[in-house]
Symmetry: C2
Subunit: 325 residues, 2 copies
């Protein structure tokens, strides 16, 4: 955690090449949010704020920032998957302030997911269903656990795959933060709202947690991991049930637009289905629409990681500059 | 073919709801290109020309239109896959005229292919390879001919699949216009140029034609189709050779960016590969880049047809309006 700030009170430019060193040596305490707003209000040019934090406090200040005419670019999911009130505040403030707010990287990192959803809506196509594997961690766990290549995958137990994923750095420091499904629920909340559904919060629809009820009270992630093998049979039963139908099990988020139903949890897919043949940590998101017909528009690739998130943030920044020039 | 024009010399608006009837009853002869330029130059507002033709003559006028400050939106491949000179003229004229030229639908219809290629370049990712199935017709033919589901697909002969595709309206009126590979070569030319390669023309790199040499001189598409079954064994040999390696054969376009190599023709893929498990008429395009790593960013869906082309053209129009406002 960096708790230092680097900025010039006279708004002169920061030398990017030396910025990290300068931050470490002469950085000051971070300004408060009202101080940030005042600082930006005195900027000699138009302001685009790139929020690369995952801070809720800053996200909650977006409406105030936008009303001052500052545009916002961010991969921060928090602002868009919090309360519906905040979502409405943000987008009504955009209209008031002649600013833009772009957040492509909040779902699927640099992949064109948000922009595709927005374009389908803007061009009056009728989205009927969105479904996908929205978590790189869940993708990896299930690609290892129930591979479509052979009916029994790697044969490894669920708990040992989770442990290995943590060792490889593929999970959050506490793997329960992946297994509770909330990350997927947040992304689904954003997409649901983009297609016009009033999704109150990421806990306002069914989300299947892969944390066994019995382990919900464990003190920490380490204790949780040590006890997880007691529940391997439970996960195996899901896998075996899918196999009996010639399918594989995956952790999926889906939005049925007509019935306004959002859902996160385990589902089974034929072994030739794009969800089943996924590899590595890849995300996959499919848009079923009236114009695309029976087969969806599907986007697949790395949906997490600093490099691809940077593609999304920088792409948003370039779009904002083109639009605001 | 409509050879009528509908426009008001005083630039007053056309009533969209009645426009088709009005065109049919009172439409006049189409103006020449110099007349179009003069008409638009007197328009009271900024001009965005939406070119929904596939006319080469209009495409060749893009530089002149852009230099006058008219923006262009089009699904027309011709302008972007013709001579490299025209490509350069178009994009240098954009800079001169403070206009935009968007052509998302020239590759993959409404799917975000052009915008993704441009964004990867603009954000300084390093694209190493692009490969895909760029033709809905070729996709259908090979999904029927060599299905990944069973080792022998539908078992139907190549010529009977081509005939059926024509009956279903999935091919051009003369199926040789699909089988010669030129449509794929044009799309590949556009993508190659977008990623910075100086591709002189769509015939400046190897393109495998599926028209047997012996039938190149046939008088028309009908005669061609009648004689195609004599060459079924040749296509079957490609299929069998792939099957021996546990693969299926597909008609693919690929760009190897480092070696500056473009190529269109038959290639084989493992039955679990996304190219192999494609369905219907779907297109699929994969971008291999430094930031995405070993697994590519892949986009799949309907890449032809009026409905999805309309998504792309309308999406471009909305982007142009946002940027030019």
């Amino acid at each position: 955690m960096i708790d230092r700030a680097l900025y010039h009170p006279d708004h002169s430019a920061i030398d990017i090449d030396t910025s990290v060193t300068t931050l470490e040596t002469t950085g000051t305490a971070p300004p408060s949010i009202p101080e940030i707003i005042e600082y930006l209000a005195n900027a000699p040019h138009r302001v685009i704020l790139v929020d690369n934090t995952s801070a809720t406090s800053l996200a909650e200040a977006y409406p105030a920032l936008l009303r001052r005419g500052f545009s916002i670019i961010t991969p921060n999911m928090k602002a868009f998957s919090g309360s519906y009130q905040l979502w409405e505040d943000i987008f009504s403030s955009v209209q008031a302030g002649n600013a833009v707010v772009f957040h492509e990287s909040s779902v699927g990192a640099g992949m064109p997911i948000i922009s595709t959803a927005k374009e389908l809506v803007a061009t009056a196509d009728q989205i009927t269903r969105i479904e996908g594997i929205f978590s790189g961690t869940m993708s990896y766990l299930f690609n290892m656990f129930a591979s479509a290549l052979g009916s029994s995958g790697s044969g490894e137990s669920w708990s040992s795959i989770v442990k290995k994923a943590k060792e490889l750095g593929y999970t959050e420091p506490d793997p329960r933060d992946d297994l509770n499904g909330l990350d997927v629920a947040r992304k689904l909340t954003i997409l649901g709202r983009l297609v016009g559904l009033r999704v109150e919060s990421p806990t306002a629809f069914p989300v299947q947690s892969l944390i066994p009820k019995e382990l919900e009270g464990t003190a920490d992630g380490q204790t949780f991991l040590q006890q997880l093998d007691q529940f391997d049979d439970r996960m195996k039963s899901y896998k075996v049930a899918a196999e009996k139908e010639g399918k594989v099990v995956r952790f999926v988020g889906s939005i049925d637009v007509e019935s306004k139903t959002l859902k996160v949890g385990l589902e089974s897919f034929d072994t030739m289905h794009p969800m089943a043949t996924l590899k590595g940590n890849d995300n996959i998101i499919s848009f079923y629409t009236k114009r695309y017909g029976a087969l969806p528009l599907t986007i697949r690739g790395a949906g997490a990681g600093a490099d691809v998130t940077a593609v999304g943030v920088t792409g948003d920044l370039l779009k904002a500059i083109a639009q605001l020039r």
